[in-house]
């Protein structure tokens, strides 16, 4: 006999956004069921680069990023483990004058949003970061940013949410969602049926599939950033690195492995399969060597990638459904939702329970794309 459960809030997707939502809802004692197709954190949230940065974000995203950064700092208290989060700083590098101009402009603008950045010229940068290659002419440093181990974070949120009473169902694929007069009815491939008053769509790169079931069509594209990791090397690189243009990002963990990304892999999102592309990975080696020439003798021991939902404007959707009361969307994080994840859970909780969230979310409306019906 198929199992049926009734709950207050059903969450579709056990990535960081979903598991953080489950945790925040349970902190307020709301009955919650989370449905995840595979294991919690097995998609983008578990395989990303591990960058926890505010610097470089589109300015309108900074309020969420600021709120999230506060949560990252309390990770051990929140989920029982620091998940290897370290506030190592984020250093964004310029490789020519035009790129330096970009950094200067951003630093000015970000200050207005409360984000302090230090601009470093060629010499100042070398004094602090002697490994920098000749190509690097300057940078912008955000002390407050850092990095964490993505393999640990989402499962830790899931474990804590479960300990607080969340009903988390892994290996449970949502096949259909519909809203009737008495709330939502969710069908799953495992035969489980869930009824809920509110549904949260945090299905990552598959968020648009859920939205489409409610007549909301959004141009979300599945994209797979290429990741590379080296053998363990003597620890030389403390900050999380980026470059203007974002064609390289690189960090080193204290164990010694250097992790970097750049270029794209390929995926079949329908089949939940992705693979890195060696051709584009090889090209990123050269960019990494330009920035940190001391990597020349190092070897790559593994490539990987994941599947991330990108929106055309590279901003997520974080909004109530335009067609269906009780449905909340939070997906399409466009390559930078790991840092945001903790706060997204807090914000969605406020949307579900309090009406308006305490962090502004207007820029992330689902109706901003022409093909989607707009909210009246």
């Amino acid at each position: 006999m198929a199992e049926r459960i009734a709950t207050e809030i059903a969450i579709i997707g056990g990535g960081l956004a979903g598991c953080s939502t489950a945790l925040h809802l349970r902190q307020r004692n709301v009955p919650v069921v989370l449905l995840e197709r595979a294991a919690c954190g097995s998609q983008a949230s578990g395989v990303n680069y591990g960058g926890v940065r505010q610097q470089g974000r589109t300015l309108v995203e900074l309020p969420i990023a600021r709120r999230s950064r506060a949560l990252w700092g309390r990770m051990a208290e929140l989920v029982g483990s620091d998940c290897e989060f370290m506030a190592t700083g984020h250093l964004k590098l310029a490789r020519n004058e035009t790129e330096m101009d970009v950094l200067e402009t951003y630093a000015r603008e970000a200050a207005g949003w409360g984000l302090e950045l230090q601009l470093l010229g060629r010499n100042a940068l070398r004094d602090r970061f002697p490994w920098a290659g000749d190509k690097v002419i300057g940078g912008s440093f955000c002390t407050d940013d850092g990095q964490a181990n993505p393999r640990l974070v989402t499962p830790a949120f899931a474990r804590r949410a479960r300990a607080l009473g969340a009903d988390i169902r892994e290996h449970t694929t949502v096949t259909a969602v519909e809203r009737g007069s008495d709330g939502f009815r969710i069908e799953t491939a495992a035969g489980l049926e869930v009824r809920a008053r509110i549904v949260v769509n945090v299905a990552g790169a598959w968020g648009h599939e859920i939205a489409a079931q409610f007549g909301e069509h959004v141009p979300e594209e599945p994209i797979s950033p290429n990741m590379c990791v080296t053998e363990p090397l003597p620890y030389f690189l403390t900050p999380n690195l980026g470059v203007v243009g974002a064609d390289l990002y690189m960090r080193q963990i204290p164990r010694g492995n250097v992790i970097f990304g750049g270029g794209r892999g390929v995926n079949d999102a329908k089949a939940q399969r992705a693979r890195p592309l060696p051709e584009s990975a090889l090209a990123s080696f050269q960019r990494a060597l330009e920035v940190a020439p001391n990597l020349r003798g190092a070897h790559i021991i593994r490539f990987w990638t994941g599947i991330e939902g990108y929106m055309p404007d590279e901003l997520p959707i974080l909004d109530r459904s335009a067609t269906t009361p009780g449905l909340i969307h939070a997906f399409g994080f466009s390559g930078h939702g790991f840092q945001l994840g903790p706060a997204v859970g807090a914000i969605v909780t406020e949307m579900a329970l309090d009406g308006a969230p305490s962090t502004p979310i207007e820029p992330f409306r689902i109706g901003r794309f022409a093909s989607a019906p707009s909210k009246s």
Binding site: P232, L233, P234, R255, N294, R296, G297, H299
Partner: protein, 105 residues
């Protein structure tokens, strides 16, 4: 010249090959043409590299001396003075090579 420490490997055959000289951790050592770096290091000593990590009661830095001798276990990577990192068991020793068993970076 430093006296030759106890070697791990013992030559049983093919000892008539041409001798070559290489530097291992700054000390001149003798090997034979056709030796792999692993052989050249292990006829002259017992440690090829130091483990980056601890475990098994051992602390990080425990000595390693390869394991599979066929390029599978990756436990024999060493650094050359020219900046290259090579797998000792699949790289031939060359006259004049300068090898470091500690990871220089």
């Amino acid at each position: 010249m430093t006296s030759k420490p106890r070697g791990q490997f013992v030559r049983l055959a093919e000892t008539g090959r041409r001798p070559i000289t290489l530097t291992i951790d700054g000390v001149a050592r003798t090997a034979l043409a056709g030796d792999t770096l692993l052989t050249a290091i292990l006829v002259n000593g017992r440690c090829v590299r130091r483990s980056e990590f601890g475990g098994d009661g051992a602390v990080a830095g425990a000595p390693r001396a390869g394991f599979c001798v066929m390029g599978a276990c990756q436990d024999c990577w060493v650094s050359l003075d020219d900046g290259r990192r090579v797998r000792a068991c699949t790289t031939f020793a060359e006259n004049g090579m300068k090898v470091r068993t500690a990871h220089g970076g």
